[in-house]
Amino acid sequence: MRLTRLEWICLAALALLALGTIAVPAFARRDPLAIGDVLSLRLMPPFATDARGEFHLLGTDRFGRDLFVRMMLAGRLSLAVGVIGSVLAAAVGTIVGAVAAWRGGMVDALSMAAADALLAIPRLVLLLVCAALWQPGLATVVVVLIATGWMGVARLVRGEVLGVRAQPYVDAATALGARPWRVLLRHALPNALGPAIVATTLGVGNAILLESGLSFLGLGIQPPQPSWGNMIAGGRDLIVAAPWVAIAPGLALIATVLACTLLGDSLRDRLAGESGATLRDRV
């Protein structure tokens, strides 16, 4: 498959960001979590140079920590959570959907009933309930993203597998003596994966937004570990005195989600045809 120019740009932007999130904190001169001389270093504006002669591209936060380094460290987490969360959610959804369609009967009825029931609760509400009830932190966020994100893909894959199942080549494979599982894995599933891949790509941006929202409310990644969401929360009451504290992580978040959305949209248009509305959760 060849990528369009827009898709290359989005991928390159995301790759650059990923590289930055790995390299910048690694080469930072100071620990982005440690608090130093708060009084002389706190809330320096962007492009400021402090008394020690260190340059702060995006200024410092209320504890005098460099915002750019913290932002990149936060990006490491946000990207990882977004990608892992949506890929695993899609994987669970694919398995459930494929098995439901292939086995039919009780398995199908039960798993789809569960999916429908979970879909009937707005994802944000479900996410909040789950995130709040367990110990907040990285693992919880990922698990919760998976637990609340598999249903859509499961329905999608189930529909595709049901469609593929009626194709002559599936009958042909069965007639040649292939076992049902082999037919599912070798013949049916690969032909049903397109929409799932598109949904996953679109899901990354959404997952990043959801994670940031949880962290903003204090239910996700906990400080001092930086995440874009809790960095914005940290700049909330400084929005007048030091607006850059909240603005910088917000822009990073927007740029990332934008790249994921454009990439996903473009892939959907080319691969999945019309797969209907994908309105994001209103974080």
Partner: protein
């Protein structure tokens, strides 16, 4: 109904199987272990899970959602106070969303590939990618603090917190005007994000319709562009838009969680966030059940409205 029962059960299990003891949070830090144990007994938390479930389910069927652990007020009443706020905020935002989003989408499709379309697409995608709480903070910075600092006209100084001005009793027109001023920022954010999404969707739908033969026929007959768009294009995307409207309604109500907490509006979202951190199970359960009921109701409404709007599906 079956779906609602499943939702109620799943929520109950989720909430009760989670670690953390509400009694510990409710008693004062100086209370003894026996105080906490007594409170657990009073709240029914010491019974087996099955008994708790049966009791709760029986109450729900009778329309009784129990009482809040923290304030001891009936959950039904607490929710009834908060729901209108969220419904007005979410509903108002949703109406604005479609009033702005659909025409913008049509406009984009009509000028597809031209400069206007490009600009609007970029704007919509940007807003679509921004989290509402961040936009909220940005707008607060500009219109609440900024307007005061930079000396913008008084009309542009918008309040950032609460639903009404504190400390003064207002009546009639002044009350409505005050409420409206407080609603401007939250509504703008919800409507902007919603409209961005709807415009993206409407643009694709309209572009699909514009490629149909009947549109070409209508144009060939000499129908004026407004007639083509209203009579042929709008009529054909309307069913999809109504479905989208119904389906996004619960999402918007739930989505005001962030806007409500930034702007301190006493709606369902804020209630939910407070109840979650206080481990006020009955409130969390009750709110989730209401949200789910809203989704199921919206789905039903969409199913019922579809044949009315699209004669082809009426058969």
């Amino acid at each position: 109904m079956l779906l609602l029962w499943l939702v109620v059960t799943i929520t109950f299990l989720l909430v009760r199987l989670a670690p953390g003891d509400p009694a510990q949070l409710l008693v004062p830090p100086t209370a003894s272990a026996s105080d906490a144990a007594r409170l657990r007994g009073e709240l029914g938390l010491d019974r087996p899970l099955a008994v708790q479930y049966a009791r709760w389910m029986g109450d729900v069927l009778r329309g009784n959602l129990g009482e809040s652990f923290a304030t001891r007020r009936p959950v039904g009443r607490v929710l009834r106070e908060a729901l209108p706020v969220s419904l007005w905020l979410g509903g108002g935002a949703l109406v604005l969303t479609f009033l702005i989003g659909v025409p913008v989408g049509i406009l984009q499709a009509a000028r597809r590939g031209r400069a206007l379309d490009r600009v609007l697409t970029v704007a919509a995608t940007l807003v679509y990618a921004a989290p509402s709480y961040w936009l909220a903070l940005a707008l607060v910075a500009v219109f609440t603090y900024g307007a005061a600092t930079w000396g913008l006209p008084a009309a542009m100084r918008l309040p950032a917190f609460g639903m009404r001005s504190p400390g003064i009793e207002l009546h009639g027109g002044a009350f409505v005007a005050d409420l409206a001023r407080h609603a401007v920022l939250p509504l703008t954010i919800l409507a902007a994000i919603g409209a961005a999404g709807v415009a993206r969707y409407a643009r694709t739908s309209v572009a699909d319709v514009l490629a149909q033969e009947w549109v070409r026929t209508a144009r060939a007959k000499g129908s004026s562009p407004p007639r083509v768009y209203l009579r042929h294009v709008l009529a054909n995307i309307l069913p999809a838009m109504v479905v989208l409207f119904a389906l996004s309604f619960p999402g918007v109500v739930a989505g005001s969680i962030f806007v409500e907490s930034v702007f301190a509006w006493p709606g369902m979202g804020r209630l939910m966030v407070t109840a979650i951190s206080a481990r006020d199970y009955p409130i969390v359960l009750g709110a989730t059940v209401w949200y789910a009921a809203l989704v199921i109701f919206a789905n039903l409404a969409a199913d019922l409205a579809l044949p009315l709007l699209d004669p082809r599906r009426a058969g």
